[in-house]
Symmetry: C2
Subunit: 344 residues, 2 copies
């Protein structure tokens, strides 16, 4: 922890956002949350009640260029973790809104950081932004595995097209303006708070089990599972890395099948045996990626980001932690089921 760190977390009320905020708070770093409007749903599931009191929060639309600029000039963050964005299904239904939030929103973050550098005359704030494994096309598009970070990409979703555009923009902000950044590409990210999106089914299976409800996992086949605590540590670690450029890194996580994930869930929580089944198409995103460059970068980051725990955490441990967290929330009467399908 550096006492001088001030980290702006866009989309800080979202799933990865809440865990990044938790990671920062656990390290004693001051997080500044920016999100559309107050919504404590996920934050209250992820943070301790006393942590909720320590949050500096600002509201506005990430696609509003002037608002984002004013915010950054006012808050003067030393780093920006940019997570605000719309998910795959929303972008498919409304591509224009998707591009406003995911493409223009990301440009707004870079432009605001550039403006801050112009005002302060110092280094620009480091930007770590959520790209996505969705920049990768389906497995059939690839002949070389594991897929390196800079392989030819042909996304299978318009969301992935926007994320790839962000990576290109980031590269140009380095080339034209020497603004460093890191893009990160998680695939099936799971843990408490993962409530929406194409790859939210594994998390919902754990929640349904804790709630004693039947649930069908709606995706099958091989994917890259990334537990959200690992992902939050990666974002915070990259924020502190010394980067000359604008790399975008695969996050490989644990490459396994959704079927095996359900098997492990049933070993960790035997009650899942009667509750959870699996039926659905495979996730059309290549999972067999190379994350050696990311790992090397993270190893270069000085403490406290020394990854004392195994990295990535094994799936059974992640499922156990997620289930225990959900149980604790249930015991406190705070576990909701809004994200599960309605009871029949």
């Amino acid at each position: 922890m550096m006492a001088s760190e001030r980290v702006l977390v866009t989309g800080g009320q979202g799933f990865i956002g809440a865990w990044v905020v938790k990671q920062l708070l656990d390290e004693g770093v001051h997080p500044i949350i920016f999100d559309l409007k107050e919504n404590n749903g996920i934050l209250e599931q992820v943070l301790q009640p006393q942590q909720m009191l320590k949050l500096e929060r600002h509201y506005g639309d990430i696609s509003d260029t002037e608002h984002v600029r004013s915010l950054v000039l006012e808050c003067k963050p030393t780093a920006i973790i940019h997570l605000a964005g719309l998910q795959i299904p929303t972008c498919k239904v409304n591509p224009v809104l998707g591009a406003q939030v995911n493409v223009i929103g990301t440009l707004n973050v870079f432009e605001a950081a550039k403006a801050l550098r112009e005002v302060t005359g110092g280094k620009p704030p480091m930007i770590v932004y959520a790209s996505s494994a969705a920049v990768l096309g389906p497995p059939s598009a690839y002949t070389e595995t594991p897929v390196p970070d800079d392989y030819y990409h042909k996304p299978g979703t318009i969301y992935g097209v926007f994320k790839l555009c962000n990576e290109g923009c980031a590269r140009l902000y380095w080339q034209d303006h020497q603004m460093p950044s890191v893009g990160l590409r998680p695939l099936t990210c799971f843990g408490v708070g993962r409530e929406i999106g194409l790859t939210s089914a594994p998390t919902k299976a754990i929640k349904a089990t804790v709630l004693g409800r039947k649930y069908t996992v709606t995706c099958s086949g091989t994917t890259g599972f990334s537990y959200v605590e690992d992902v939050a540590r990666i974002f915070v670690g990259c924020m502190r890395a010394s980067v000359e450029g604008a790399p975008a890194f695969n996050i490989r996580g644990v490459v396994d099948t959704s079927e095996h994930f359900v098997e492990i869930l049933k070993q960790v929580l035997p009650e899942a045996g009667q509750l959870i089944d699996i039926k659905g198409p495979s996730i059309p995103i290549m999972a067999d990626t190379d994350e050696s460059a990311l790992t090397a970068l993270l190893k270069s980051v000085p403490a406290p980001h020394d990854l004392k725990e195994p990295f990535p955490l094994p799936l059974d441990e992640c499922i156990r932690r997620t289930a225990e967290h959900f149980k604790r929330l249930a015991d406190e009467g705070r576990l909701h089921s809004n994200d599960l399908p309605p009871l029949e």
Copy 2:
């Protein structure tokens, strides 16, 4: 020509737009121009005065989703040639505006075409849009030549990043909504009306010669020269092609050096010998591309797009036509020099 053709040309007041409109009018097709606000500067240089009277024109912002939708639903075009966009320098200075016009604007065209299909129940209007050779990175990024249409692309400008995003979006509109389109990638497009942009120098050299003014061509090295009459024929031809998919095609044009272009200019117009020199960096866009897929598609298009002339036209012929056109305008007192550097 099909009497039933109604072609919406976005950016129809621009350089390629004016020549596309001319091609359509020459074939007796009804063009509908959409542009930001009335500006006859380029159209009056390209079209005959009597052709100016036949134009249906609408004004508005291509980045205004609702406006574009209303226009398309009202005009019911059978095809859309989408050329509205900001150039490389503008996108570099204002990336947010660049993305609004070039990315959101293109999504607006696809969304409006989709809405029109929903209303009419028929086929969606065919969309032919300007991508750009700027989706290609610098020559050093490529090991395989000529570069095929779908090679790995790493644009060297944020303009190129936006154009590549457009190609990805087009691909998804085919995948998700079965809307066919063609993207076209000219590089150094030249001819009467080419007044702005990174690769406008060759045209300005011809104009300066006609005006008897000194001019320094500000780019050097190898590029792909495309004469605008060829490019207009390609856009109109692709509009009539039977396309199942959303291909983006290289336009190779005539691959040559800017130095040799100036040599040919001096052969065609000896007075250029005393007026034109060349000094500048090479254009950082790979020019050695493969256009065989585009050529095959154009050959499949029935008359009148039978390309009776050599294709592409040789550079000396293109320079001659451009110079004669500029001279005619000069004789009529209609040739401006607003796009040339100020006289010393």
